[in-house]
């Protein structure tokens, strides 16, 4: 019982990383932009956040630094793809490759660094419940804020005028342009917001989730987050669900190891990546699921002068 509650709690934590990044990418993609640079943004944000916490001791500042780093890189990416009309895939790839190199370069002096203890958080009353309290109600505040973020995002996208404009820019930039909306500025804002959330996820990994800095520590989570947006067929609630599912698969691997299953650790570590492939296959095989919800102009450039 206790171990299952703990597994559930750790699943929520692991899923939160993926959920934050994937929600950010969802905002991008709703505006019609695919950013393959998620992995690079998350890595740069991870080292930015880590270094900030080392020097200031403030976890809040660390998360903010991560968001700033992610947003900054996203704006660079956005400027290239939105104003210079570079290929979105190639530019995102460049961002990822650059981020992997740059984060390793910037983090070289932080490999041995230590972080102060994370301030403890606990829900009043609920946190004192036996068994469930420590497992479910003493997690990092971001875990709960992420659930709130999903609700906010759903409200924004489907219940507000701004959300409608954002979606129209992703569906038909020509019409949005004809109606007088500044398509490129809206897209850049969406990309920046997505970058900030990817940055938040990256900083969360290096400061809270596994509070240390190792080269390449994001370990493909940026790519899994990209897969999650497809998995969720671009719906915020399903993104959260998918993220927890993947968090569960990641945690299952540790759980199996701890329970003494005789399978090599490397083979168990493959599980999240294999699960991503399996899920992609299952979702993609049904073209209507994908096509109905996919923003119609996803990945296509828009040039108002033409």
């Amino acid at each position: 019982m206790e171990s299952y509650a703990l597994l559930l709690g750790s699943t929520l934590s692991a899923g939160t990383v993926l959920a934050i990044a994937a929600l950010g990418l969802l905002i991008n993609e709703k505006a019609g932009i695919v950013n393959l640079g998620a992995e690079g943004m998350m890595l740069c944000a991870a080292i930015a956040g880590f270094a900030t916490v080392v020097h200031t001791g403030s976890f809040a500042l660390g998360l903010l630094a991560g968001m700033a780093a992610g947003a900054l890189l996203a704006v660079l990416f956005g400027w290239l793809v939105i104003w210079l009309n570079t290929n979105q895939y190639a530019t995102g790839l460049a961002l990822s490759l650059f981020g992997v190199g740059f984060s390793a370069f910037a983090g070289i002096n932080y490999v041995q660094a230590r972080l102060p203890d994370t301030p403890k958080f606990s829900w009043p009353v609920l946190g004192d419940l036996p068994v469930l309290g420590p497992a479910l109600f003493r997690l990092h505040p971001l875990v709960y804020l992420t659930m709130l973020l999903v609700v906010l995002l759903m409200w924004f996208l489907y219940r507000t005028r701004a959300g409608l404009v954002l979606r129209s820019v992703g569906e038909s930039p020509q019409s949005a342009h004809a109606l007088g909306y500044p398509v490129r500025r809206i897209r850049l804002l969406a990309v920046a917001a997505g970058g900030a959330l990817c940055g938040l996820a990256g900083a969360y990994i290096s400061t809270v989730y596994t509070p240390l800095w190792v080269e390449g520590m994001v370990a493909g989570r940026g790519w899994i987050a990209l897969a999650l947006t497809t998995f969720a067929t671009w719906r915020p609630a399903r993104v959260l669900l998918g993220a927890y599912l993947f968090g569960g698969v990641t945690m299952l691997q540790f759980h199996l190891q701890a329970s003494g299953v005789h399978v090599a650790s490397q083979l168990l570590s493959m599980l999240p990546y294999l699960a991503t492939i399996v899920v992609l296959v299952l979702i993609s095989r049904n073209p209507t699921w994908i096509r109905v919800n996919m923003p119609a102009s996803l990945g296509k450039p828009f040039f108002p002068g033409s």
Partner: protein, 357 residues
Amino acid sequence: MLKLEMRPQASRLWAYGSPVLALAITVLIGVALFAALGKDPVRALQVFFWEPIKSPYALGELALKATPLLLIALGLAVCFRSNVWNIGAEGQFVIGAVAAGGIALLADKGTGPWIVPAILAAGMVGGMVWAGITALLRDRFNANEILVSLMLVYVAILFLGYLVYGPWKDPMGYNFPQTRMFERVTQMPRLFAGSRVTIGAALALVGVLLLWVFLFRTRAGFALQVGGLAPSAARYAGFSSRRALWTALLISGATAGLAGALEVAGPIGQLTPYVPAGYGFAAIIVAFVGRLHPVGMVFSALLMSMFYIGGELAQSRLGLPKSLTGVFQGLLLFTLLACDTLIAYRVRWVGAKGGAR
């Protein structure tokens, strides 16, 4: 304010000029970075651009590192030209290395030189199988090839780790995660005395020729490119996009696997967790900087090899981390993509009032 204006025709001048301009900008940013780090920029430029070419031995090392980059990029160029976004070449490289390593481990004192072609063939088959998974899932289930091929990179690296920590670990290896050193006979023959360049470099140049012929002189190569540029036109002409998908992925799997085989049965000589060195990702940049053209990629592979060697030298001579290589590689691709804008657009300066939206 700067304003972009669509050119009536793509600029041929900038098609060639853009990589040069991109390199110049990358070097400028590099100089600024070195200065900011308190290093002598002239010395740093020397480390990156002069040391790797100053002696015959250095040139050999340059060619040695350029070989896997060029081989992988050749295959990737086929993919990108047909609009297949294979970015999992690193995984295909690793599985090629594993398959080649498996054959190399079979050799003993009495093994004949036939083992060398067997190793190369195993590497190619390994890479093709790995790329084939991506092709199959894309073809049958429409699964996104970017994500599938990338996930398979992590799986491949973990699989290599499983082998060298587990069943293939050298029992006499002081518990290091590595296989035993391969027998001498498995070593790729070298081209010149006094240099580590192997027949791999010659194979890569043959690959350049083959790719040129395939792309520009065969119907299959033409069909593949049309499919990439204009899928509906290709369908009218009866060119199969499925066949293009399989062709592109199998060719790039084969070249990446071959590169993996050449590395483990060449400079490395055993399987270790350090076989994946990022060549599969760097080759993406090689392919783009080389304009997806066989000859262009020879130059860009040499340039990227310079960055690798420069990064290593920067570590020993300047006390800078080796990861500088990755920074410059990424920067180069960024600036190239930005400069490529000049091919299709003219930049015009307009007054602030005529500002573009």
